[in-house]
Symmetry: none
Subunit: 305 residues, 6 copies
Amino acid sequence: MPKIAIVQAGTVLYDKAATLEKVRKYVEEAAENGAELVLFPEAFIGGYPKWNNFGITMGTRTPEGRQEFKRYFNNAIEEHSEESEFLENLAAKNNIHVVIGVVERQASTLYCSVFFYSPQGYLGKHRKLLPTALERCVWGQGDGSTMPVFNTSVGNIGTAICWENYMPLYRMTLYNKEIQIYLAPTVDDRDVWLSTMRTIALEGRCFVISACQYLKSSAYPDDHALRKEYGNDTVLIRGGSCAVDPLGTVLIEPDFTQETVRYTEFDLSDITLGKMDLDVVGHYSRPDVFQLTVNEEALSTIVKK
Amino acid sequence: MPKIAIVQAGTVLYDKAATLEKVRKYVEEAAENGAELVLFPEAFIGGYPKWNNFGITMGTRTPEGRQEFKRYFNNAIEEHSEESEFLENLAAKNNIHVVIGVVERQASTLYCSVFFYSPQGYLGKHRKLLPTALERCVWGQGDGSTMPVFNTSVGNIGTAICWENYMPLYRMTLYNKEIQIYLAPTVDDRDVWLSTMRTIALEGRCFVISACQYLKSSAYPDDHALRKEYGNDTVLIRGGSCAVDPLGTVLIEPDFTQETVRYTEFDLSDITLGKMDLDVVGHYSRPDVFQLTVNEEALSTIVKK
Amino acid sequence: MPKIAIVQAGTVLYDKAATLEKVRKYVEEAAENGAELVLFPEAFIGGYPKWNNFGITMGTRTPEGRQEFKRYFNNAIEEHSEESEFLENLAAKNNIHVVIGVVERQASTLYCSVFFYSPQGYLGKHRKLLPTALERCVWGQGDGSTMPVFNTSVGNIGTAICWENYMPLYRMTLYNKEIQIYLAPTVDDRDVWLSTMRTIALEGRCFVISACQYLKSSAYPDDHALRKEYGNDTVLIRGGSCAVDPLGTVLIEPDFTQETVRYTEFDLSDITLGKMDLDVVGHYSRPDVFQLTVNEEALSTIVKK
Amino acid sequence: MPKIAIVQAGTVLYDKAATLEKVRKYVEEAAENGAELVLFPEAFIGGYPKWNNFGITMGTRTPEGRQEFKRYFNNAIEEHSEESEFLENLAAKNNIHVVIGVVERQASTLYCSVFFYSPQGYLGKHRKLLPTALERCVWGQGDGSTMPVFNTSVGNIGTAICWENYMPLYRMTLYNKEIQIYLAPTVDDRDVWLSTMRTIALEGRCFVISACQYLKSSAYPDDHALRKEYGNDTVLIRGGSCAVDPLGTVLIEPDFTQETVRYTEFDLSDITLGKMDLDVVGHYSRPDVFQLTVNEEALSTIVKK
Amino acid sequence: MPKIAIVQAGTVLYDKAATLEKVRKYVEEAAENGAELVLFPEAFIGGYPKWNNFGITMGTRTPEGRQEFKRYFNNAIEEHSEESEFLENLAAKNNIHVVIGVVERQASTLYCSVFFYSPQGYLGKHRKLLPTALERCVWGQGDGSTMPVFNTSVGNIGTAICWENYMPLYRMTLYNKEIQIYLAPTVDDRDVWLSTMRTIALEGRCFVISACQYLKSSAYPDDHALRKEYGNDTVLIRGGSCAVDPLGTVLIEPDFTQETVRYTEFDLSDITLGKMDLDVVGHYSRPDVFQLTVNEEALSTIVKK
Amino acid sequence: MPKIAIVQAGTVLYDKAATLEKVRKYVEEAAENGAELVLFPEAFIGGYPKWNNFGITMGTRTPEGRQEFKRYFNNAIEEHSEESEFLENLAAKNNIHVVIGVVERQASTLYCSVFFYSPQGYLGKHRKLLPTALERCVWGQGDGSTMPVFNTSVGNIGTAICWENYMPLYRMTLYNKEIQIYLAPTVDDRDVWLSTMRTIALEGRCFVISACQYLKSSAYPDDHALRKEYGNDTVLIRGGSCAVDPLGTVLIEPDFTQETVRYTEFDLSDITLGKMDLDVVGHYSRPDVFQLTVNEEALSTIVKK
């Protein structure tokens, strides 16, 4: 009966230290409440600067937009870094799994990633395969080498970030790795998100947990143009975190009103109840008609011989 | 601006003639109301004998169950048959497209199929690829040779029957054929069906139209055991037909109370509004990571050399 | 001694018919002046809606932005279409090669492409491999199957669009196909563009011809927000078309002041003068140290078996 | 904010001692002016005997040319040598990085190399991969084992010598090693060199620093035929050293008139401004289409088992 | 008892037609005299412009030199070309093997090659692996894919061009392919050449046949600077063609005075006389101590996936 | 300017003491004449019993032949022995390098070796890798552990014995060790030997010194059958010692008439004159095509674990 905490909160934009402090606070709170795994939303570290446009229009990037990007870049973290060690220690100290959306920096490109930590240490990461819309101007694309499903004491866990949840072939890949707890960190706060989560739970016969940011305009620094334009209290991302069981039953209904931590607890063996009549990577597949080839090699422009 | 009629009704079980008469009635009604296409539910001709078990338990089939199957078999239709001509004429006479779920008989096997007719004649069919649960004891499996998307004056139309809607790779195949109006005849009357339809509309950026049977126990013949057990007014399938646009907006909300015909009308070019930021067979795909091979050959156990 | 015409002009935005008429006018003018090939800028058909943002900020696309995208989508052309035939006829009638930037539509995704026509007919196309910044939200990515160099009566011609010119591995691919006349349609009107063109000419030992749009705010329709904001005479793209020979000598200096057609004529055999001491795909390469593998297969998410 | 000194000066040809003295003078001057790194031109030690032909025509080498080569050979230095220690001490004593073009002797072959020294000691070297034109008769080819990018307190530094700057695959290799300060010692004094440096800065989003020799005919010994022919004041190499930032802005304009030391100072974090919209080894690459294999093994005709 | 003709003659420089005519004359003469194979010197087609420097000194290539190179480039031939067909027909018509040095053009790089023709057609080629001295500025390097030994009716034939004869590892490769008639087209007219040919015959236990050009300054066109400088009668290459048997006996002594065709006839089975006590790829080898790895792959900077 | 003495003399067969005395005499003579190194022929100590067959025919060894072998065996010397000390002292006392061919005995096998002594002591040895013809019946094979090139005050010295000079891969190994003075003790007195020595000098760009025995039938003991058959004055080995410089110039012409000591003196730095255009282990190699792996391990049938 794993107990999961879902953090519905927002980044302190462009303030990595304050954001990490917030992470610490929520991890400790989740642990105190008996959670074995705590899920943070997409891009929690690094931030999702909603309504920002980085000075980008067709054919131009303004100097101010470039400066904004640099500020954003400097608040991203690397896979092997002081910040990652901080998270690793946090997971160990609180004896909890931490799964958290981060803006990851490798060399000069940013990625929208999720880092996984168990109490025993760093497990690995997933990089978003396809950023959506303007995200394509700030984040690069992940490849097939970071599509893990980890077998942990909590269950088999993996992740699809935001609109990756609309990529049928990526979902199939996760189902095929026997995912049990499907973690969906996001910033998508539409009403319809819950429908999507239920459908994935039904289709994949897994538990689906989604953590969405709750972000107000006060998250931007005082001196930021959007802060000035929208004041402190405009809701930029309204939350909507939720959880669904393998038969589509909603375990946690969305709350669109506040920063909050939600908890859910369930029995993994209930997955079997659902797989009885639908198993899209087992008896409910047609390998004679459909065959999906997945390339899990790292794609690198330059390789050493 | 195609106008679509959705028939939410039930078969007259084991009475092909009466069922065809019912088809005629609804096609004419739809045409009179200006519809260019009318969609019937899954297995409308031939029927979906809900709660029947055909005398099948683990290890046994009773003689009575075999007789029941024979009765069911005799109410199925062939692709090239009198009944099919009847439907063809109906479509021509009423200048309407007819898409209808049928129990199809080929040699000695039954299939759960959908037949397509335009005012110009018979277009072709789709056979359900994977029957669900006990259906596997009465229907065979279709293969990759009947997965059409037809380019008609109404738009590009194709179909996924009932839980085929939970087959991600089949859906990808339809999206790839540039389906615009995704037709989902079904007998699934759960609450959660709407969530699934919305998710498919969002994922595929297409219009999704689902027609579900509304079937009462009175549909069984007077002499049938289930009629005797449940009387006339037990609701076996409660409907729930619906329609959704490519951004997930519900165009027709489910009605779980009655036999009815529902109408919807929309602008196909709105698909572009949705494809702008999600096109899972175009800019929102990763062919370098995922490649789906689809076998559209007819599978036949015995072939001439 | 091929004579090349370089059209420095702008699209009539969201008015395909008027744009095609403009194409006709310039093709005829170029032919009358004895040109054997006429090069149009990037996205000439379909247009480059400079300073437009399609209502896209981090995390949102506005309904108005989606409508704008639909309008843009409808002004794109397909590879095999009426508009393409129009261009084919134009090339034939005027006995000239036409190389033109177009916004290409395939199914529901747009691409930034270049179409090639000889007097004998359509030759083929190149699709931009990597859109830049906001372009990534409106155009998909081409793949290795459209990287042609055509052997024509004018010489061996190929193209790199806008910032593809900063992709060293793509340039290597073109050099390896023995490109002689390197066509660089663009909307990049920075001062530094000429430096880049000279460097490519020097590096590839080829003639480099770049055509840039000259676009004023009057190109937007009367009712367009940007037209209202900027009036008729704001210069959105200021031109800067140029031509360089294989030793880096500038044949045509940029003109940043007007719509214009520029002409250049040169002797292809002068390429040898440059290859004498630099041939990066021949004697000036180190295949024992560097080996570039190029995948020219079409990448398709779904393939028929 | 690293401060870089660029030495634009010439070798005292065939006089190693006098040349080393000149190196000492410039290193001290650079250090006094606060530079953290000083870059010398190509072949500064050993020399670039411009306009010399070593008695080589097609099919012949004259005895006099061989004697000239021997003189040249004797003025080359080895990697581990007294001269190298001299440079090491110079760097340490003046607390400065020294990057210097040398003619390197290994066994009986000469190489055009660059040696790197930090205040802490010798870092390593790069050997020119492909000599140009007549250089091929006096210098051998380096291999993939000497293509370093060093992470120093000044930044990540590496080098491409003279026309190696026209080798796209070598440049890609340096970019991939996260070069920040791209050092381009050269003897190329053409006008067009600046265009090339700007393009590399733009393409690689790095700071590009080029040091060119300024060499007059008086650099040849009194008894040398070219000294006699050209007198003391003929300019053999006219300089043109320059520096460019990652957005292509020229930080130091070429001076073609004199021996001089130029200084530039910049903020490495500005690289991010440029990488935002172009990162050819990150988000602006297509590893699914282009893959470059780099062999960094030392190539040796004879290896011990 | 194969009979071999050795053509000691010179190219008509920069006059491909006249050179081919000369080839025709000598092939016919050789055939009339009963030869089964005729060997021409290095670079016979395309020419060896002795004492030319193509305007190359350290650091410069003059415009005149580039023009000269272009002239030279235009007189080279391609592998599959009209000129090659001419040679093929000549071999067929005269029922003779033709082995001839050519300057080969592929794309924009020249190579010093030898083309082999039997009476049955074109056999293949060898490209010089390492040009010498100034040749490195006009010819590229061949690779391991063109190191053939052909089994013909005359015997097993292969070739090493000019100073390739000083490459022990290439010679080993030819010996290992069971070369019987080692063909050494050259322009090396030193006295010591005969010593080298004898040593190779002794070492490889094969028949060695060397054809050297005999070239006078009149071979340059009237308008050429070297023609003007040296008049008509300066001997640029003085010949010295020779033949040696496997025990080092000189079969044809060099003639340094004229254009001439020399003939030799021998018994291939005499090779066994020599292999008895020396077989460097057989009993006289030490594979436990020395192992030579030969890479016969074509080296290509760019390869299709 | 090393001065080398070449001893052209013969062993006193089967009389070790007399032979050592002869060695002493020639070493002193050489030292008096200012030589810094004295080279003796192959097998000088131990002897080369020319025309002897040791009673060996196919399938038989006679008892007399066995006795002859025993006599020969007893006149061989060991590496660490009284005789070797004698030589060591001789070198020290006369302040000269001694390089001498010996028949070396280890356990029960004989080897054809060369021992090297400097004035400072014993340097090491080389064992012939492959005896020729009947030598294979009296001498074993050396291995890769004795292929030294010694860096001495005279220069870098190494050796190839007799027909080892026809082993291209062994020569490559010596060149690779930067041999400067290539010592070739031999008993090969054919005319063609000089050609071979010249070719090696040219190929390796080194000074080649060859010392051949001058041996008359009187060298056999009075009681020996061959002495009886040929008398005292039949010339068994006629000399032919020689020296060549790196450009192939003969420094000492062979003398085929007498026992003699020849002297040569040269400038090692002239090697650079030759390496300028040929360096088969440097710029004139193709490690991408040919790679020679050399096993310098001692080969021993029985080894301790």
